[in-house]
Amino acid sequence: MTTSMPTSGLQIEHEESGAAPVISLSGALTVHALASLQAGLKEVPQTSVIDLSKVTRIDTAGAWALADLERRAAASGGRLRYRGASEAAELLLDTVRRAMPVAEPAPGTATGLRALFEATGKRVVGGYDFLRGLVAFLGMFLAGLFRVVIHPREFRFTSLVAHCDDVGLRAVPIVSLMAFLIGVVLAFQGATQLRQFGAEVFVVDLIAISVLRELGILLTAIIVAGRTASAFCAAIGSMKMRQEIDAMRTLGLDPVTVLFVPRILALLLMLPILGLIADIMGLFGGALMSWIELGISPSMFRTRLVADIDISNVIVGLVKAPVFAVIIGVVGCHAGMQVKGDAESLGRMTSSAVVTAIFAVIVADALFSIFFAEVGM
């Protein structure tokens, strides 16, 4: 019986002669022919002679197939012998035989309902640990800030200024544009609704209260969360990945004062300013649109604004800024410190930093709303 594999030039011949059947292999026993070789060797009797004299080339894959066959034969009490193997083939077979891996069973994993419970439990514990980690990180930051206040010499002002530039100044164009457009949209939507009641002039109150109390600072914080939480996480995470943070520690540099305090402090200083810019640009956009759509002149807009809108609205809005800043900064830096040794975890933590920061900002905003409603502001 002859099995021929045209593509690889491999041939397997069985012949019954004397005591044991002889399997004669010819051609190249290489990885390219492994699939056919493996299929052809399935039916080989447990005790047989393998003739390798017509083999032109054998590589580790071919040697593995033979060693695997030996192992199966030995398991069922048989024995294989070889004939006509070259010296190199013998050596290769020997090397491969010694290296044949012995599979170790993977540790058992739970299935079904148990797996569901296990996964849920892990998530709950993981979520709890994450929150605890964030709070611990916040404490570390506050302690670092305190240390900097006591020993201002340890602090690097150049680094703070650089981060202020990055976090604040460079965000001004996008924040201004966003707030301006929000003002425009509010004026436009307000105008169509209020015109039905002939109450066009109340559009000023609508724009001012929503921009100053809520939208200005909330949308600014969301944009900054997207820009800055990811940047913090990527910068600190890649340092963590290359063990730079460990190196810092051994050189007596405290990562909290060197890395985290300047970044979060920069956010703390810049976010209120960005929020104020957003407020101004939002009112500006609203006034412009009111003028065009409703014919409310800028001077009238101003008069109504001053007469109707209490300064407390601005305070209620901007008082949230430092809280949002700390949330964004702590979430970003904390995520960076969670990065493990591989690039994939850096990407995963960066996107998770953005999502967590935005989510936390919105939750905090909701809590503020409830608080201000309760105290009647």
């Binding site: 990885v31 699939a35 590589d59 580790t60 894959a61 593995w64 891996p101 012995v102 993977a106 040794g341």
Partner: protein, 268 residues
């Protein structure tokens, strides 16, 4: 061990010139690699050993010169020819360059995916064999590169380079950063594989022990070219300050004395 064939070299570099901006790394570099030999490439830090390896394997485009491998011009090869060349050589980079998002086994399976009718089971079995061949425990196959030590990552990188049983492997400082026992096990591994698989090895190294334990021939990189090539005893005769210092300095004497009698330098 197989002596270098007298036949034509399988890799032939002629008049190679590489530069980064105005910084010339190689100028007029000639080198031959013969079938079945273990060629050690030595030179000071920054003399362009890694760049030479990258140029031969087509990863770095030289400014001038010709590189021929298995009779194919590397620089002008068509994509199909490049594919065929890539099947015939394997590269182990200086720090392993494993794909960090894959486990070690999946890393070794990557080149095996190019074989059309290999079933997933066979692919897995072959990957496990390669992992075991380079001396890693079975468990290491499930680990991600970031969970391994530097020496284990190097072994895993070698397993991946050997996945398709290439004719030539390029090893960039395989023993740098290994403990002496790990390094000498690696030397032995390279010897065994070269003997059993008839492998040609292009070995960049700083490690004198590795040179003494494994290499058939040595090429010294200095002054932007291959200064001399030859066997270890021939190196001792070379009249050049750097070569003299390198091969007859105090560390070289220690390495020479430490050579076990069963290695190929017994003629020394």
């Amino acid at each position: 061990m197989t002596q270098p064939d007298d036949s034509a070299p399988i890799i032939r570099v002629r008049g190679l010139r590489t530069q980064f901006g105005s910084h010339v790394v190689h100028d007029g570099l000639d080198l031959d690699v013969y079938r079945g030999e273990i060629l050690g490439v030595v030179g000071g830090s920054g003399t362009g050993k890694s760049v030479l390896l990258r140029a031969i394997t087509g990863l770095e485009r030289p400014a001038a010169g010709r590189i021929e491998a298995f009779g194919t011009e590397v620089l002008t090869a068509s994509p199909d020819d490049r594919d065929r060349l890539d099947d015939r050589w394997g590269v182990m980079f200086q720090d392993g360059a494993l794909f960090s998002s894959l486990t070690v086994r999946e890393n070794v399976e990557v080149p095996l995916r190019r074989i059309p009718d290999l079933t997933p089971e066979l692919r897995r079995a072959l990957a496990d064999l390669k992992i075991s061949l380079v001396g890693l425990p079975y468990r290491a196959g499930d680990a991600y590169p970031s969970e391994l030590s530097g020496g284990m990552r190097k072994r895993a990188g070698l397993a991946r380079a050997l996945a398709l049983d290439p004719e030539v492997v390029f090893l960039d400082e395989p023993t740098a950063g290994l403990d002496p026992i790990g390094a000498s096990a690696f030397d032995q591994l390279i010897n065994t594989l070269s003997e059993a698989l008839g492998l040609t090895v292009f070995l960049v190294t700083h490690d004198l022990d590795t040179l003494y334990a494994t290499c058939d021939r040595i090429a010294v990189l200095a002054e932007k070219r291959v200064l001399v090539t030859g066997t270890l005893p021939e190196m001792l005769e070379v009249d050049h300050p750097w070569v003299q210092e390198y091969f007859t300095g105090p560390r070289a004497r220690l390495a020479r004395d430490a050579v076990r009698p069963d290695t190929k330098t017994e003629a020394d």
